[in-house]
Symmetry: C2
């Protein structure tokens, strides 16, 4: 089965205490699509400008990502610049240049409209709505979001929650959305807003899944060195959705393992700048880390 | 098998946004001893003043804690007062009155000196040394510590690390001790200081164990409501050591499960002020939460 991924496609300039990396391939759709590509065919919807490096298109193609839904339009590609502090947990934005992303309207090629697994990666909720408006009968829809949309597009987001099966967000966002500090209670409050599945990402501490079938406490793969965590959350949800699409059928009973696969792809993501380490992963290396995680959590 | 527990025995006055609770039974040894008592006989070493409430002695006895090593001396019992912020993660100390604890010298009754499992709960490293000086041939020694000792008694602590099998400390302390932000690397650095087993506590995010046999990522039991986290770390290590002592023999292959049992006792600890919820736990309720944790982490 294919997975449809809609989100941002960007150039990221990332500074850490150890290095400066201008104009890396980035954006929520890029990270999620490459992550998903290890498991299933990916259809990507996004927009880039005519300045978008050709070798980045080549990289998408190397991962067999269907680019019929990628608009290439005159103007500049969305550019984000950020800087990480020494501990790699805190980052600040240095620049956000929306470029062609400012007037982006996701248009789904006819062939995409029947895709059964849909990942609305992090973009404005109004664009996520617009994608769903074009879909026929998706089987499973997951949406990622960020604090920005809680701040400036809350009503759109609340409406979106009625239309998706799964919401993925981080701890701080779960607390902000529900005004609940306790994450177990925050997840319960989010169910009442719509999604049957709620996944709260906790970075290096893993993630928790809440659903009717109960909770799942998912570990993160312990890393000796984090080079650049940008996109790790997108890689997590991308890997998860790719795994689910490959498995096919109902997600219950598969979502836990899908999260573990997502965690492992996210761990590769953190080991290099931008997509540098993710693109060097292979299905065999991913399977091997999943086995390690099994051993690391057994008691 | 018995477990020997040495640490502080105190009266805690705890304020949260919801309640004020003066002079609760507290201290690292009290929390650890009650936690361990669900699994094995406990020998406790500590000191209290003549103001120590009789019903707290009764509570120790109800848990069959051997009090031959508890000194009751003229003067005031160690008193700590603290206040938690709304999210229950940050706390500040309002008062610390050492009382009889200031001149405490742990003296081991003859019968205690052969105990095979020893928990040096959080007290000054010099006192932890003094306990080990009196022991014959303990099989497994775990030491807990806190940032205070890293700040004012680092040399004593470093010497202690050469004498213990297992060091238990929290994330911030592991980073402070090793100057390593990454916890995997921090644990490796601590091994070089002595302990074959390093356990890093991460509160609501669980704990990690590092040893020659590899790492173990231990989950925390997810709680809907945290009433008072004071002593949860002591309950964790106490429960763990009680479980190990009950199992007997070498700890390898048992330590993971021991940590899970410790986590579960710590979860009860958080559900009431001081020891109020811990003392209401039973072995059956503990076993039931361990089963829940098995289900919560299966993938």
């Amino acid at each position: 089965m294919s997975v449809l991924i809609v989100g941002s496609t960007a150039l990221d300039s990332i500074t850490t205490p150890h290095a400066k990396n201008p104009r890396l391939l980035g954006g929520s759709a890029s990270h999620a699509a490459v992550a998903a590509s290890f498991f299933s065919p990916v259809r990507m919807v996004g927009v880039v400008g005519d300045d978008f490096p050709r070798n980045y298109l080549k990289l998408y193609r190397k991962h067999k990502i269907d680019l019929e839904g990628l608009q290439i339009v005159p103007g500049k590609t969305f550019h984000w610049a950020g800087e990480y502090e020494v501990n790699m947990n805190n980052r600040r934005t240095l620049a956000t240049e929306l470029g062609v992303f400012e007037s982006f309207t996701p248009r789904l090629p006819e062939a995409y409209k029947d895709t059964e697994y849909v990942l609305l990666a992090n973009i404005a909720p109004s664009l996520q709505h617009h994608v769903l408006d074009q879909m026929r009968r998706p089987k499973f829809i997951a949406a990622d979001t960020m604090d920005l949309w809680l701040n400036i597009a809350l009503q759109d987001l609340l409406k979106l929650l009625k239309r998706v099966d799964c919401l993925v967000l981080n701890e701080g966002e779960a607390r902000q959305l529900t005004k609940e500090h306790n994450l177990v209670r925050a997840a319960k409050a989010i169910h009442k807003l719509g999604p049957a599945y709620v996944i709260v990402k906790k970075g290096e501490h893993g993630a928790i899944l809440s659903s009717q079938a109960g909770m799942f406490v998912s570990p993160a793969y312990p890393l000796c060195k984090v080079i650049d965590p940008t996109g790790a959350g997108d890689a997590f949800v991308g890997g998860m959705m790719g795994y689910l699409a490959a498995a096919g059928g109902a997600v219950d009973g598969k979502l836990r393992r899908a999260m573990i696969y997502g965690s492992v792809v996210a761990s590769f993501c953190c080991e290099g700048f931008g997509l540098q380490a993710t693109t060097k992963a292979t299905r065999a290396r991913i399977d091997s880390r999943v086995k390690e995680l099994e051993a690391l959590t057994k008691f």
